[in-house]
Symmetry: C2
Subunit: 474 residues, 2 copies
């Protein structure tokens, strides 16, 4: 696929001008270019006219101004951990990495804010907050290498959304280099500001199609005083959903994570991930890994115990354990985070990152399972995700004993069938991973015409030459 359109490969003198902006340290060539052009699973191998990493916002702006003047396309890239290829260029673009912009610019504990460069990794941001006796709650699997700019551009989610929201909810201000090279200084450290359209919202989740995020003001929170982690077995997904409501009412919204897993997750984990075992004595069709936190100094464990006892009495769950040590907590989370790896051990036929209303999860699962079974009898669905966010990671492995690649030629059909069910529930075909290259055509086919027309009008208004990350999302 090419995005060249009416665009030509950038002339050499333009590339030279861009090199001059960033200097030799900011150019990556030859063997150094490989890490930028391939995402970690090897999909969407890319090419770029030039790979540069500016050292400052001003350098980013200088690069973009040159691109604007010469109609050269730009693909911004953070930690290159995205799952939909949004960060990988096709060939004629400048790849603009934020990796050299790594300053924590300011931490203000009294304002509960932190201002950072876009290239700071999520883990570094979490650590900086922790060092200031504060919490930056966003947490995702790739936090060691993903960067704040990418987290924002993809509106990342993760395991604490239930309590603290998505990236969108955790950003107070942004600094963005616009497609014409203007620096938009929206680095407000304010909780309230009603002076016009909230422009940063277009950049959050904008996948780099409207500008390059170079800095951000992030919200911080007090660290919770207590945490309690529990793991429960339930007879049905419906019971697991009802358990969330029960738990939130009993703890006044104390759940920070509420993770659903089907029995098959546990089977695959125990089989493929070393040093894991079933946390409960008997098998259950569904499981919930839940974490509660509280600002009060004591009493949370009692509250959670009572909540679980009442849930057992009410038949919402059939067994439960509370983690008795940090090691047990870590083990439960390690199991949760190894589900994808465990599925790879069986072969991944199709993968979906979808959402519906939380209350629709059970019906969605029933209908999607039936649709998959019709297309691929015996295929093994592995469903897990974040109940409180209505977000189901709905993966499909080949039938027992079949070749790992047995479903490869049915992948598109299975995806289409699952997305049809999602559409019927007015859900989302991309809950947290985004659109990028991977779902661009699907989005164009499935999003309604009014949405698409508005999105295109905004894109044209802010990036009239279409130089920002072409071929992604829209």
């Amino acid at each position: 696929m090419s995005t060249r359109g009416n665009r030509q490969p950038p002339p050499l003198q333009v590339l030279e001008a861009i090199r001059a902006v960033v200097g030799p340290k900011g150019v990556y060539e030859g063997a150094d270019s490989a890490p930028f052009l391939s995402e970690w699973r090897g999909r969407w191998p890319g090419e770029a006219a030039l790979i540069v990493a500016p050292a400052s916002t001003e350098e980013v702006a200088d690069v973009i101004r040159i691109c604007d003047a010469h109609n050269v396309a730009v693909t911004p890239q953070g930690g290159n951990t995205g799952l939909v290829g949004g960060q990988i260029p096709f060939g004629d673009e400048i790849l603009l990495s934020l990796k050299r912009m790594r300053r924590i610019r300011q931490i203000e504990p009294l304002n509960n804010t932190m201002t950072v460069d876009a290239g700071v990794t999520l883990a570094e941001a979490q650590q900086a907050a922790h060092d200031a006796d504060r919490l930056f709650p966003l947490s995702i699997g790739s936090e060691g290498s993903c960067q704040i700019g990418g987290v924002i551009s993809t509106n990342a989610g993760g395991v604490n959304v239930l309590r603290y929201g998505n990236a969108r909810d955790l950003v107070l201000g942004l600094e963005v280099v616009l497609p014409n090279g203007d620096i938009w200084n929206g680095l407000k450290r304010l909780r309230k500001d009603n002076t016009g359209y909230d422009l940063k919202q277009l950049m959050i989740g904008g996948e780099g199609t409207l500008g390059v995020v170079t800095g951000a003001v992030l919200k911080l929170f007090p660290q919770p005083a207590q945490k309690v982690t529990a793991f429960a077995g339930a007879a049905s997904a419906k019971d697991a959903v009802a358990l969330l409501s029960h738990a939130q009412n009993a703890t006044g919204g104390g759940a920070s994570s509420f993770e659903l897993m089907s029995r098959r997750c546990i089977d695959f984990i125990v089989k493929h991930i070393p040093d894991t075992r079933d946390p409960l004595a008997n098998a259950h069709p569904w499981y919930v890994l839940m974490e509660f936190s509280s600002g009060q100094a004591s009493g949370l464990r009692d509250t959670v115990e009572t909540m679980l006892a009442n849930a057992l009495d009410a038949g919402l769950i059939n067994d439960a354990v509370i983690a008795e040590s940090e090691a047990q907590t870590q083990m439960l989370w390690r199991m949760r985070h190894s589900i994808s790896e465990a599925i790879n051990g069986e072969g991944l036929g199709a993968r979906h990152d979808v959402s519906v209303a939380t209350s629709d999860i059970p019906a969605f699962l029933d209908e999607a399972d039936a649709a998959v079974e019709r297309l691929a009898p015996g295929a093994r669905v592995v469903a897990f995700g974040h109940i409180g966010d209505g977000n189901v990671h709905y993966d499909v492995a080949p039938p027992e004993g079949a070749d790992k690649n047995a479903l490869d030629d049915k992948r598109s059909e299975i995806e289409a069938a699952v997305y049809d069910v999602i559409d019927a529930f007015d859900g989302s075909i991309s809950a947290e991973h985004g659109v990028g290259r991977h779902r661009r055509d699907t989005l164009a086919n499935r999003k309604n015409a009014v949405d698409l027309a508005m999105m295109r009008a905004i894109k044209t208004a802010l990036d009239p030459k279409g130089i920002m990350n072409p071929g992604k999302m829209l």
Copy 2:
């Protein structure tokens, strides 16, 4: 002021076509028109070519399609409680009231969502949530008459922002009639949806300049199990800000409200509001009214008592009481909500609804006070607001003994001086009330050129004929 520009008063046959859409019940004329054309304090008296209240989203769309075809401007109006004149037309517009769209469409407790028509009042929405054993936390003084559509279009704030956020944070989906009459169905009930630009964010706080909000999906929360209200006296605004950090750390972010008041607030309240008295034995320069809530069933009062005792020991406060009854809680909140009325008893020279970073509140107050004193010696500043949001209502009353209108001819100068200080702190000249007519020129003069250019590009892209609420905000 006219917004006619190249627009002519709507021809009679166009008005007839609009009347036909809504029917006789949907047209307000003669004496019935007065409540729509004047806001409650009598500022910005307006005129309209026609006042209509459609009964459904389809009728709104039919009206707007006619307006689009004939280049007729439209001013949407909710409960007409806005403080900046955004809801009042100039003369050539159709005034489109949402007052007849009052259905609670759906409540889903398991999904913690509620779908409502735009014309539902905030109090009705709160009540409907309560009836479903849930909390819709947004709370503002005008909640009995303001409507959800207006709450959303102005991104309303209020006293619970610290814990639950502004209107923007409480909306999952929107239904909007666009300037061309298309109905945008963005009524998603999802917590996660990364399939393109988050279009609803432009409508939230958009002040009706990009479309007419006709319906919304609102977030609900578990009701807290305990609430504790306290009132403390402090020596300085700096101590009051430090108290918030201390209190949030001690309660793990348990504060839902944290309201600052200067001593003058108490003086004016006791003087002008019947049945009020100073809650503390001695006078203090500053006060904080705080409310904490928790999901645990017990222990919050002990936590708050310990927190206050430690704050006394640390010298952050000099006295404090905890409300011992619902009546005491109500009295404290009645005092907080009567500050504006109490100021009117002394004469209101100038009023500002500004925000800065929370940690900048003390320095902002020092500099603003000095600027006001230079311009109007003896003028009495009354400062109050929401510490956690950095939002200060900064009002200025005439000097002791002076005429109530003594500062009227200095109002513009005082406003400009206070806004200069706000700009120096990178704050906001409109924290929660919005821009509307009142601050349109101020915004154009003070907002940076990059912001304004982006806003105008978006306005032109989505409303190319400029028919949506002209003369407001932009």
